[in-house]
Symmetry: C2
Subunit: 410 residues, 2 copies
């Protein structure tokens, strides 16, 4: 019989969000009248902005005409979008990215999950803890770890605890690592790396010949002008970092699907025979062999994000969400709950009151305030005792959620 | 330094279509006035049909409203589309597929490339030769092969030559294999498996505990009512086969991107400890971990293919392409060139005249008739001496191409 990939069996059965779904469903069965407000999953709630809808619709119409119809596009993305990314996301911040260093895709989840394929299975992976589960799970599936221990940690992974004690900004590890995942603005902690912090990571990577996999899916939420939006704003990062970006959170594309990845030609890995090999060539081979490009109308929709109207409209939505974040932080603070993040990121990370476990707090928040959030322990062992709330909801729901939280005795 | 996945280095450098592109560009530089007609790459040319455009546009408009906006959908696909697939693609042909056996994706290239991940690297892979390159390349990248030999064949792969001598329908191998890729209607040969042939494959797979990876991306081109559209029309296939389907060729979605994969819960693989494991559960884990669903408006566009108008309009386009195919077959036949396929598939596979190699015929066709096709040898060693033409072009271009071919002395 065909053998399965046994590494999949190392994955823990219950993924975070299905377990949340189960508990919410059970509660709603008991209390069918309770109006549950969801601040759990990091999914946007505002509609696509008018400039995006207009471009999207125009491209759909084009697809219905003989002259405008487009079949297969370049797997790497249409040049009209690539040129806009180069100009608005990079050149405007002093970073020069070549067209063939950019790969348009249907999502950062896919890209940050697939990137590990171009690396050997013998590399040591370092992750912050808590972490976006996709980085870990895809390495487990590829066989870069042993089994998970009782503490939830997989053998072979270098975990970098991110806690209140280190400001959710762990220092580079002393232990050896070849691949490091960084996410800034961070999901789930909402922490944002300063330029000085990124400089330390880049210099660590250069010293250790490691590759940094930098997830900047939330960069659109940065308002502090001193904070870097791209790791390439740090000198030398082009030789050691791959960067992931997405329209999901910056332009409400979670249901529309468009993202991109930057693989500079200067980033290298080592072949078995000792030769240095360009990771750009490997990713290009991966992307063109296993992917067939993003829907043409979706790429036109993404391009509209860079127009004057598109920029203005998407920024307004981000401002709206960030006002939600401010209200949540203030409301929780007034209720005596310590919060972190939520200033340059749409996530508020909180310390559970009274030493509650993450899941106990989940249950109390659900039963006491009919509010759903995400238990910090679901993102890794060091997330225990923390909890994530997202700023993605209507103003009315956010205000109502805060009012309910204030009424609970924690 | 981070180690690369060395398996990528086993891949042959020049992929087929870039080499075609280079030769065409060189010719056009020499002969800038030549009007080159492309019957090479298998990309559709007719616009999206009105019913699809209408549904696509309506869903885009929905995304711009507070009530209609959709964020993340289920990674497996929206139920409105899954239900239509179950009814129209399967129940209508007497096949019962459960909703959780269906996985909507952004392309069959992706799915047929990614499916191998859920299997161990120690499985033996069998492929017809010639073959769609993605099946082979993704297994090379995963390390299921040795190096390629001088004959272009990778060590460890079981090749099943498909030639005129066996009617492009190789019999199941005597050599052991665990995973078998079948494509019917076939790309590149245009051959379509009969029910009796599929029965032989299913019974072989059951006997050998092998899994069949069945690519039916071109099933929409079948007009002969005796031919099966799905491998599940064969009894017992549910226990041994995974099927790939796509809207790319049936509804002109090559630039729009939607497809689906069926993984019946009864198909199993073997874990290292001997336990039988459901492949459906493994693919579900893969799909939900590394993919984030297809764009909502695109899924609505795909759903419109099943409406009365959508069906009628897409069938008309297929009829149009198949009349192109008939004209190409007739024209080549009149020119004394032996053709195959092109009756229930949009590809015409031809034997190169005068014993020309596939690339020599490519050059003569380009220089003599200014027509571009695809050298059979690009699909595998047994494709040498054959050539693929596609029916995807305007009637005028097809007629002009045939007229020019007729004027060449082969």
């Amino acid at each position: 019989m065909a053998r399965i990939n046994d590494n999949y069996r190392k994955l823990k059965a219950g993924y975070l969000f299905p377990e949340i779904g189960r508990r919410v469903a059970a509660f709603q069965k008991e209390s069918p009248d309770a109006k549950v407000i969801k601040l759990g999953i990091g999914d946007v709630t505002c509609p696509l902005v008018p400039a995006v809808v207009e471009a999207f619709r125009a491209a759909v119409d084009e697809m219905g005409t003989s002259d405008g119809f487009r079949g297969y596009g370049p797997e790497q993305g249409h040049s009209f979008l690539i040129d806009l990314i180069r100009e608005h996301d990079y050149a405007s911040r002093g970073v020069s990215i070549d067209a063939d260093e950019l790969f348009v895709s249907d999502g950062s989840k896919c890209d940050s999950g697939n990137i590990q394929e171009i690396f050997g299975t013998d590399n040591v992976v370092a992750l912050t803890d808590p972490v976006y589960p996709v980085y870990l799970d895809t390495n487990v599936m590829a066989g870069r770890t042993g089994e998970a221990g009782d503490d939830g940690r997989y053998a072979g992974i270098v975990y970098l605890p991110a806690t209140a004690e280190n400001g959710f900004a762990p220092e580079p590890p002393r232990a050896h690592a070849d691949l490091l995942y960084l996410c800034s603005p961070n999901n789930p902690t909402g922490a944002v790396a300063t330029k000085a912090q990124l400089e330390r990571w880049v210099s660590w990577a250069r010293e250790h010949d490691a590759v940094i996999l930098f997830d900047a899916a939330y960069e659109g939420y940065i308002s502090d002008p001193s904070l870097p939006h791209s790791i390439y704003e740090v000198e030398g990062a082009r030789e050691v970092a791959i960067e992931f970006r997405s329209y999901s959170k910056t332009a409400g594309f979670t249901g529309t699907r468009c993202a991109f990845t930057v693989v500079p030609k200067a980033v290298q890995g080592r072949a078995a025979n000792g030769e240095a090999v360009s990771l750009n060539a490997l990713w290009s081979r991966r992307h063109t062999t296993k992917f067939n490009g993003v829907s043409y109308p979706v790429q036109r929709a993404a391009a509209a994000v860079y127009g004057a109207e598109g920029k203005k409209q998407t920024r307004e939505i981000i401002r709206f969400y960030m006002e939600n974040a401010r209200l949540i932080r203030a409301g929780l603070g007034a209720a005596g709950i310590q919060t972190y993040g939520g200033e340059n990121a749409p996530y508020i990370w909180l310390r559970t009151p009274g030493g509650l476990s993450s899941w106990d707090f989940f249950d109390r928040l659900l039963r006491g305030a009919h509010v759903v959030g995400t238990p910090g322990s679901g993102f890794g062992p060091s997330g225990e005792g923390y909890f994530r709330l997202s700023a993605f909801n209507s103003r009315q729901n956010v205000e109502e959620a805060i009012a309910r939280v204030a009424r609970v005795r924690w």
